[in-house]
Each structure stands twice: as C-alpha cells, then as structure tokens.
Chain length 339, copies 2
DNA sequence: AGTTGGCACTCAGGGACGACAAGTGCCCGC
DNA sequence: GCGGGCACTTGTCGTCCCTGAGTGCCAACT
C-alpha cells in the first residue's frame, strides 16, 4: 500500500469535497481523478486514512469528508503558493491604485479581497505603534481645549481632544507645535514617548502644566492601545455557503463583529512573507471552530505594519485563498511605501 | 361593524405576528387580547381587512399575516413614539459618553443601536458639506507634495495628498495656511469654495500655480462627493430571524455592503425630528423589498448633519425601533454639539 | 504483499399515506 | 350587528417503505 497514493487520495478527497460540498465516495474518486487503481483499492486507502483521523464519514454508508487534521495535512502539502494570473494581478493593481487616502486604500483592499476569495475579508489598519510620525498638529478649539492630531507615515491620522487647566495662547501653542515636530518627526511611534518626555522643562512654569497635558495626550495617542482598527467586508458571502453551514454562520458573524476577537486573531500571526492558515479548532476562538482563517501581514520594506485575513468555512479553496491573501498583502505593502 | 374594532384587530394581528412570527388566527386573537367579541366576529373583521389588502393568508386555513399595506396602516396609527425607560436612557448616555473622537462616537452609536433594536444598524458619518470648517492644515511631505487636512466642526477629518508642479517652501506654505484659515474658519463647507476662490491672486505669479492646486484640492475635499461614509453593525442579528427569512438574508446583506445603496437609502429621508419608516416594497431598493427601514437624521442645534437607520424584516417591532432610533439620533446630535 | 471483483449490509433521503389540528367561511338564530 | 355551530380546507407530523449510494470484507488474482 503506497504512501504516496494515500496522500493523492486525501488530496483528491479535499479537492472534490471543496468543489462539490458533498461527501465523496470511492467510486466518484476514481472516475474524476485518474488514479490508476480500482475503487476497492481506494476504499482500503480510505479506511487507513480514516483510522489515522484524516477523513470521516458523516454517517455510515456515506462518502468521506476531510477532518480538520486532513485539511491540515493537505495544506502542509501545498508547498508553493500558486501565483495569480497576470490579468488577476493587473485587476488588483488597477483597483487599488485609484485610492486617494488611507481610508480608501484599506476599504478597497478589503473589498477586493472579499471579491477575489468570495469569503469574508478582514484588513487591519496600519498599526500605529509600528509606524512612524510624519507630522503632529495642534489645533486650538477653545483657549483651554486643544485637538492633538498625529499623522503617521502610513497616512493614518489619529486625533484626540485635550482640556487644559490653564488657557494657552496661539503663540505658545505654535512654539509647542514647532518643538514637538522637531523632536518627533520621522521617529518610530514607540520612540516618541522618550523623545518628548523632556519637553515641558523647556517652558516657563506658568505654561508647564498645559504643555504636560499636551505631551501626555500625545503619548497616549501614539501608545495607541485602543487605536487598532479593522474593517471587514464580504459578510454576504457567508450566506452563500450551501446547506448546513447556515447554522454555523451566526457565531461566525458575531465573532467578526467583535473587533477585539478579530484583532486577537490577526495578532496571533507572526510577521511572515507567507500566508498562515488556521483550520477549524486550531483557532482558539471557539465561535470560529467551524471556520478556517488565512492570514498574512503586510507592510512596506519588509517591516510589517498590519495584518489581513480571509475567513471562511473549513471547506474552502486554500490554494486560491492563500494566493489572493498574499497578493493583496503585497500590493497593500507597496501602497504604504508609496504614500 | 365598527371601524375602530377593525383597526384594533389589525393592531392585534401585527403585534402578535411580530411577537410570535406565526400566522395568527381568530381564536388566538380573542384569547390574547381582550377584544370583547367572539372569534366569529373577529373572523368577519379579518375577512374585511383581507378584502382591503391589509392582511393575507399564507395558505387557506392558516392564520393571517399583515401585508406591507397593513404594516403601513399600523405604523401610521402609532401617533406618538414611545419614550425609552429611564434606565435605557441612562445606559445610552453612559455608553456614548466615554468616546474620545468622532470615529469612536460613530462606532459606539452604531453598535448601541444594533444592540438596542437587535437589528442591523447603520450610521452615516456627519456629512461634510453639511458641517463647517474648524481648521485646515497643510503638511509638507516633499517639496512638491502636500497633504491637505480638513478638520470639520463635527470632529471629522478629511485628508488628501496633492502633487505640485513647482516646489513650495515652508514659508510660503505657512502663509497659504494662514490665509486659508483666515478665510474659511467657521464657514459652512458649502461656502468654502467661494471664499477661497480669490486666494491665488494674492500670491506672486511664480507661486500661483501651486496655490491654485492646493485651493483646488481643498475645494474638492469640501465638496466631498465621494466622501460620505457609513458604518454598519449587527449583521449577525439578521441570522437570528427564524424560519423563512434566512432565504432573504443574502440580498439584504449584499445591499448593506454596497455603501452606495446605503447612502441612497439614508439620503432619501428629509431631515426630520421624527423617525421615518419605509416598509417592504416602499423601498425602491429591490433587494430590500422584504425589509423595513427606520431612519432619522441627527445633528446639533436642529441642523441635520447625517442620518442613521435600522434595517430589519418587515415583521419588526416598529414602536420600539422608532424609539431607539430617535433616542440614539438625539444623543448623537448632542455629541456633535459637544465636540 | 498489494490489488481487484463481488457481495451482503447499512442508512439517509424521498415519496405515499393517514391522522390531526388549526383555522376559515358561512348560515342561522338572537 | 353579533355569536354559536358546523362543514370544509389544508399544512404538519409521524409512519412505512423503497431506492440508491456507499461501505467493509472476503476470496481470488498477479
């Protein structure tokens, strides 16, 4: 009994099941794939694969479907990610290039990914702590109220309103603005706090408390604990899956609406060129135990600034989805550089 | 045959059907509501209501369900929108008050609305053309590339990158910035274009083309044709509806993902204190012909700056949803003022 | 040893059928 | 105009049976 053929059988089962969404039997297998053996032989292989836990039968006398473990083996066998066709690549490029600002880039990316994969797509905004400062602006709203605006190198903008104990004149504000920018422009966000810690000391005591408030607010902003943002698209694709999955669509949708959960999912990926796949229960988010997730990070110049993902039923087309995820991640990284 | 009682019967049918999601029969009606008549009498009323098109039977010998026309009459009878309970109001206030910036206010509002109504909620960002300018910032990225940032009175921030034909020094940029702000601060967005049209003339001919580009970009930004943004929440609620609705959930989800469609829906409301209801086919978006929409506008000081809505099956609790929509719209308007 | 044809067995899915119950429409007396 | 009564309609539910796909296993073949 050849080990190679067993793997071929598993692969065939996964492919057929993904295509038809129906349990696949030994007969159908030999018909559709030209394994040069009889159905009886395939049945023996299948029995072995079932013993090892790679496939299962929904009921006796039905065909086999892959288990999570089976998908895992299948995915691990996919050594190289298939490249997208040139028309596909061109479509991606055209689609993303018309974008004006970051919001639009992210929005288009997530829609594109959902469309390419016909699954639910998730894209995280460039993480603030992982990017650098382009400009800091202080806008006076009232004498005692200032809006702190941070523009990141990725094009992302964060704002925050600070109430001051003592009013601050436009002149002083301009000076603070000038000093802050001199200190932090081009710095990575994580280094900002150190760079501006000494600033208040430069100012006269009467102004100091206000400057401290501004500096503190800026530090909070760049720390950006709660500033991670994600967008999702393609939820409608969840409803297109046939038959039984509808029952499981609700927990998935619920999980997707919890941005905390999403960020956790995305955050678990270590930065990597290659897309990562998590299958069914491999996900430690319980609500997603019937779903698989293909994630990748993106970023300019090898530096990851964010992650993106595709979420779908475990019976998804892993090869195609991995290719799409990788392609969109690359283009998105390129856009970050370009900005 | 009393007209009043017929209306009472219709109301009872709507209420029961919304509560149970099952066709309601004459017997059940007299049991659950104390109409002081017999089931036979109710049957006569029902026959009349059916003749007039307010209710229908899914099949002979089943109970009645309201038609779109029936819901319409029912909603029109709801003279006053029920007020929310004080604990509910307090919950809303607490929930919205912790928000730091506009993104967070909008995000929390839409989640809150979805949670209150257990439907899909949609909130439009404050419309740019309908708000006024707080501050314009010009950030030099390269000598020939400037980022134009507009901060609106609602807290909304729009940005846009402009490439200049001729490089511009920091000094000139500062002067342009100063002049622009002097002209437009506090102005309504729609009036901005006129106010800055004459600006380039103030500058030396060598600088003029660059100033023109900046001014043009600013005009485009405030015109904000494509800058309307919406967020949605509670898509998972669509999957919770029982039985047959799942079949119609896909088109609804798809429509909701098309922000163009959503904006059209939201845009059709004329600004009004009272929530507006559109039922089933009253919607001219075909995909939403099985859905009802409760919309309202919001804004500070009586000036509408945006809209929000709840989308759900026609068999929704109109009274409760109208109350929630109105409440959230009010709080949101208040937040706009406060910012 | 590995492969193959053959065969008995299992079981989900799909009609057919009948009992049931909810609900209606209608007539007639009040 | 209201209400009791009754015949009629029809969807739902459970039962039964049949069919077909698919399996596991065994004996024979290479």
């Amino acid at each position: 009994m050849s080990e190679d053929r067993r793997l071929a059988v598993l692969r065939a089962i996964v492919e057929d099941y993904v295509a038809t969404h129906e349990p696949v039997g030994s007969r159908a297998l030999v018909d559709r794939h030209h394994l040069n053996v009889s159905s009886a032989t395939v049945r023996n292989d299948m029995a072995a694969l079932e013993d090892e836990g790679f496939i299962a039968q929904p009921h006796t006398s039905a065909g086999r479907i892959p288990t999570d473990k089976g998908y895992r083996l299948f995915v691990d066998q996919l050594t190289e990610v298939r490249a997208l066709s040139t028309p596909e690549r061109r479509a991606i490029q055209n689609f993303l290039e018309g974008a004006f600002d970051l919001d639009e880039v992210v929005d288009r990316s997530v829609r594109l990914l959902a469309q390419l994969t016909r699954q639910v797509a998730v894209v995280q905004y460039p993480s603030l702590p992982r990017s650098s400062v382009r400009h800091v602006e202080l806008v006076s709203l009232l004498p005692t109220r200032v809006m702190v605006v941070v523009i990141a190198s990725t094009g992302r903008i964060e704002q925050r309103v600070v109430d001051l104990e003592t009013p601050m004149s436009e002149d002083v504000l301009a000076k603070v603005r000038q000093r802050i920018n001199a200190c932090v422009q081009g710095l990575r966000m994580v280094d900002v706090a150190d760079a501006i810690a000494g600033l208040p000391a430069e100012f006269a005591p009467v102004e100091r408390s206000a400057v401290v408030a501004l500096v503190a607010s800026l530090m909070e902003t760049v720390a950006g604990q709660r500033e991670e943002r994600v967008v999702i698209s393609g939820a409608a694709n969840l409803t297109r899956v046939p038959s039984d999955f509808p029952l499981t669509v609700q927990p998935v949708l619920e999980a997707l609406e919890e941005h905390v959960v999403l960020l956790k999912l995305l955050g678990e990926v270590e930065a990597s060129e290659q897309p990562t796949v998590r299958i069914g229960a491999e996900n430690d988010v319980q609500q997603l135990s019937t779903a698989s997730i293909v994630t990748s990070s993106y970023g300019g110049e090898g530096q990851a600034v964010g992650n993106l993902a595709v979420v779908g039923p475990t019976r998804m087309d892993y090869a195609a989805n991995m290719a799409s995820v990788r392609a969109v991640a690359r283009y998105l990284g390129r856009m970050m550089d370009a900005q």
